[in-house]
Amino acid sequence: MVLKSFRSILIVMLVCFLSVGFACAAQKAAWKIGVAVSLTGVFGKDGSLVKDAYTLWQETVNSHGGINGAPVELIFYDDKSDPATTAKLTEQLIVSDKVDLLLGGFGSSQLFAASPVAEKYQYPLISGGASSNKLFERGFKYYFSTLGKATEEVRGCVDIFSEVTPKPKTAAIIGADILFTSLACDGFKKYCQKNGIEVIHFELFPMALQDYNSLLMKVKNKKPDVLLVGSHLLVAMKTIKAMKEIDFSPKAVAFSYGPTVPKFVEDLKGDANYVIAASEWTPNMPYSGKVFGKASDFNQLYIKRFNRRPDYVEAAAAGGAVAQQEVLEELGLKPPLSKENRIKIMEALHKDKFETFYGKIQFGADGANEAHPPVAVQIQSEKLENVFPLEYAEAKILYPFKPWKER
């Protein structure tokens, strides 16, 4: 009797061990991809968009049998919008979680901290949410960005003024004093000079600024034709609120980032109209690729999954994941990846050209995407419309900005 019970226990234990063994084997067969991204803190909203993009990519890939037969497993860690934490979590993903690959989170400051860690461990790191020029000036081989450089990303927002009448003569540039937004301000300045627009005010301010009214009142008193703002979502929303409160209506207002995030229009409603924003992608662009099909297909898939349109940063993030996927397929790799394999992936990312729903992706020697034209969008009747470049424009730019008192 005792012997029989003992045998039963042994059988149960054996079954348990085998199950655990199979489970481990099954886990090992998946692509473990780690992402340190801001899910809380000042970039929490922006970072959660990037998370959505990767999640959709993962679901799409897995529903088609994974990459080279292996499903994708994503590990997300919240860096709380703190660059030091991003670096720490990136190392944790590599050393403790032993991920096969990485994908980038959101924010230049965050990626600026994460990329040296990826470089040290020789992990390719593709981001779709960071574009500061300084990211590409360090001679890194493993950092890639599907966005163009920050200073170039805002070009469309200034070039579009050469298409309007009367052409603006003066501009005021303000922006948050952090890596991406300050470089966006430099980009605004550079293209204002190229377009013959005189910059009559240039000021950076800390993210902690609570009182936008005083700052914008000072700008208003200088009567610039256009206001250009180096911004993230929060800065963009605060700026619009303050502009209306102090009744500041220049001929145009453009932001480096923020208005393309759906929440901007949802909550600001009609106050968001006439706002121009930099972008790198809209669903009407004539792009297509293997994983998601056309740009418009990606848009539809996004609406079905998240009940909203994707922001261009989400498209850029998913585009980066697709590029990495295409390299894995081209090289016929399977998890787990060795260091040598990751070196091959890095080399292929530098060499290959990718045709995707996000457009052409071609990484230069510095890791920046060299194949992407900047786009400008404008909110018209509470809807984002592509207004520049003209060959892809969905609508004609509304100019000048309708004064607050007349709305």
Binding site: L209, Q210, N213, S214, M217, K218, K244
Partner: protein, 290 residues
Amino acid sequence: MYTVFAQTIINGLLLGGVYAAYSAGFSLIFGVMGVVNLAHGELIMLGAFTSYWLFAYFNLDPYLSAPFAMVFLFLFGYVVQKYIINRVIGQPHIMSYILTFGLHLMIANIAIKMWTQDFRSITTSYSGANAAIWGLNIPLARLVTFMVALLVTWVLWFFLMRTETGRAIRATAQDKEVARLMGVDIRNIYAITFGLGAAITGLSGSVMSPFVIISPEMGLEYTIIAFCVVVLGGMGYMPGALVGGLVLGVAQSLAATYLNAGVSVAITFIILFIMLVICPKGILGKGSVA
């Protein structure tokens, strides 16, 4: 030139009114209990969210939802004080710092889980409305908040001076042992005070909701400003929050106009440092120094 200066002062006074509105509760709680409430900003956030959700689901105007925010925050504050903060009253100050900092993290993170980290904004038909008088711009929502700050300070002053509960609160603040001997239920008074502080803070969050960006993590920056305002006006001295708020608002506005916006943020901490070193009892010299 004259217009720019006058506009700067108006901006500063209106900004100061906003600061005073949300700092009064901080001052009251510190003055009576000696608790530096590091979860103060979360009370503002909860007040703003009360208005936001009532606006989003019932289209209720933020000013009409303000009483709901007050009642909700009073109950919230009363319960938090009675069952949580009362446990550290009388213990070293560091205990209340740790506890309220923990509360700050807990409330903010629960709010993120419930409402996501989205930035939200209330846009009403009168959002951004402003009046132009003699070429000067006056944003009306801020003017209302300024008036609320004045009203709150006056009502609170009246309540503390003229009512039975107010006298009990003042007696407890002056000497809790003697107050206890006189039959004051100290624990209940503490809970009422915290509830009252939370209610007026919730009110400020509610009246600010038409012109601020609301998010679960907005609290900390407000706590920092409230601390500076209260040190400036005198810790625990009720009208001090109004004076401190106005002085800080005008100083920041002048710095933003004549220097730059970065200095306007830095000046807050420069003033805080100077006050703590030179005049820890506040501008009026009536604050308490532990």
